[in-house]
């Protein structure tokens, strides 16, 4: 039997350890997803925290044939989207104050990519995050965001092209 299925079964019966074990396999991606979508570490932390608590309290509703990963990412996606709505009602732009990453090596390039990624629009970051970190297909993204899959594909492709432009441009400036 699939180990995940066993863990899900246990977690559904209220086994916190089993739930934590499931969480262990995805928490890093959950945080990366939230950070790259929301740009703000404190908000990302809150969003993941809420997601986990929501997921634990409603895991009874998870059917065992559903995979845990897409399910919990869906909760997080919806939370991120909702935060965008809250942002849009706030007058001041939430500036990202991101601490540096773990390793000092290769950071210059990474920080530039992140900086440029954060210049993308909310929706663009959300779509790319859903693809990269949650591993959703464009069809699944379309379902969660209530969009047409074509629209998702074209938005993502456009965003990536924009990002590439920005990167090559900022690269050029550096030289």
């Amino acid at each position: 039997m699939n180990q995940d299925l066993q863990q899900i079964k246990k977690a559904k019966s209220g086994d916190t350890g089993a739930f934590a074990e499931l969480y262990r396999t995805i928490y890093a991606d959950l945080y990366r997803f939230a950070l790259y979508t929301l740009k703000n570490p404190a908000d990302a932390e809150d969003a993941v925290s809420e997601t986990v608590m929501d997921a634990f309290s409603s895991i009874r509703k998870l059917r065992s044939e559903d995979s845990f990963r897409p399910w919990i990412f869906k909760i997080l996606s919806v939370k991120c989207k909702r935060r965008f709505l809250e942002y849009s009602s706030q007058p001041d732009e939430l500036t990202a104050d991101i601490p540096d990453g773990n390793s000092i090596h290769d950071l210059a390039e990474g920080i530039d990519l992140r900086t440029q990624f954060f210049r993308l629009k909310n929706e663009e970051r959300l779509i790319i995050s859903m693809h990269v970190f949650a591993g959703y297909s464009s069809r699944e993204i379309a379902g969660i965001l209530h969009m047409n899959a074509n629209t998702v594909r074209s938005k993502e492709s456009r965003a990536l092209k924009k990002l590439l432009e920005q990167l090559s441009d900022s690269d050029r400036k550096e030289r």
């Binding site: 916190t16 869906k74 919806v78 009602s89 773990n102």
Partner: protein, 691 residues
Amino acid sequence: MNEQELLNKIKQTAEQEVIPETLMPQQIHKRLIRVKKTRPITQFPIKKAVSSAAVLLLFGVLSIVAWKTGRISPDKKGYVLENDTTTDNSVPAGASGPQRNLKFSPPDSEKDETAQKPSIEPKANAGELYKIAANYQEVYDVLQSSFELHQKYRAESNTDGACEKSAEDTVTEYSKNASGAEQKILYSTTNLQTQGVDESDSIKTDGQYIYTIAGATLKITDTFGGKLKPAGAITPDLDASDHILEFYIDQNMLFLLVQHYETTITEETYYTDTDEKSGVIPLNSCDKIASFDANSSTILYTYDISSPANPILAGTVEQDGNYYTSRKIGDMIYLFTQQGLNADNFNGFIPCINNEKIPCGNIYISEKGNEGFLISSINVSEPDKILDKVMLVHNSVNVYVTTDAIYLYHSDYQAADTLTKIAKFSIDGGIINAVNATSVKGEIFDTFAVNAYQDTLRVLTTLYDQNGNTDNHLYILDSELNLIGALDGIARGEEIYAARYLDKTVYFITYKDTDPLFVVDLSNNTNPVVLGELKISGFSEYLHFWGKDQLLGIGYETDPDNGERKGLKLVMFDISNPMDLKVIDSLVLKDSLYSPALYHYKCALADPSLNLIGFAAEYSNNNAAYNVYSFSNGRFVPKLSETLQDSQYISYESVRGIYIGDTFFIVCPTEIKSYEMANGFRKLEHLDLTD
């Protein structure tokens, strides 16, 4: 770097992020243990309504946000939420509280409704795709099975109503000067997808006044005598989270669309903080959690603006759901909204239009779906009344509206080959009724790839096979959507980027490394023929006919060797001889990255009669400008490039270039600037709209 490499790079870069300590699995585990301990085993808290009793939550919960109130600790990390607030056993609070968990039984009033208001005539099925529900139970059954098919997280709700818009022909119109003078003034109108089918926008003019949505107010500016003078404002009665969407103007009437959210706040007690002894750091020092239930609806306000200083509200209709789009054809307004049909709650919830539940005879069901797609018609002479209405239980459809039909289409990925499913509804005199439905191979990638002409519907699709190879198709359907002609295997390996139909001809752009412009003769419906093809570098995303013999493309220039984008590009094609297509001129905007006109047709100004091409562009130095060109003697000639203020409040998608007579205006939600066209676009006036 290609897209996949970039995605990998993003992933790798993100792996350098430090995960906060509080999110480590062991920390989370501790919190879970604590939550479990402190929460009563029965997990159904009793709700205490703290909202005004006047707030009626009639329908299913659209969305739920829980946040903490009464937080004492400033520690942001002490944020523990229990969001299990709408479990099935929750108790509605008071008579006005949510009734959403009651089992459905048709109330008497509903029988009365249907008795009083029989449908104008029974609705027909849309082929096999959408069928009229025999009763509400059938609707619930669809929701139920969709729910089981796809476990739906209950908080998911807000749909992207406004994200799917497209645009087309700027129509130049002669009109009577609103000031009553007999002289005729040319002025610009919203760029539309279909001539004769008006579309709402956030900025419009009637030849004298400029109407601009500026936040929670619609501002009316008088341009008479070349001045910019505030002439009036419309401020609808909005709740805090409501916002103005778009509007129409028609002579003395203004039709304003507003997104409204009905909200209730309920507060509930979860547990008290008694777990200090365990040594776990208290993560939550409060015991109350407020939950926020929102139910959205779209409101159409009709105003008499005979006196702009004194607009009079003439009528209101309200339709459940998030705004999707709308159209105005003559005196008839069609309103499209999307309403989530809460999966936790699929027995007992039918959306309302003008406070009337949609009768089951007006509900179309398909195999599955958890969204209601609502369409209503309103005759502007009776702005309080809904003339007709239907609801489709179906997720995500695209809309194409002609003067006599609504086409709803979506991609279906279930078959081996992706299909586009199309349903046709007639809209004779505002009465909406299904004609038929069909499916064709491939997907519609461009808003303008679908077009009705006389008794036919022409559709251009791109089909991706299992290996990612593409093939493009053209289908011609008759008025009942029966297939009468097809052209397969066009531009294998490429994808359709932009299309335009001109009567019996279609021009379209496909792209992979170069940009072939294809022209296909459709005069024989059963046998469409490729007439010509022209390959140039780059690709166009938006096409606009420029007189009879020319076609304007707005897109990107690319490096033919590696596909790298080199900036926005304008191109003018000579299409006078379809067998011999030519490029007359092209122009690449230096350092430009993006223009909203590529994907939002309302952002494009293309007017051959006044020789104006206008659009906003963003540049690599982070600046943006509104640019105006003319096309003279076979050349694109720059006329104006006005820097746009970089403002976090204003998206460049909301900037419009319009003209009235000899004056050109750049309008955005915060300001209007005017220019004298005859005098080298000399700057005239400036009006701040933020006051």
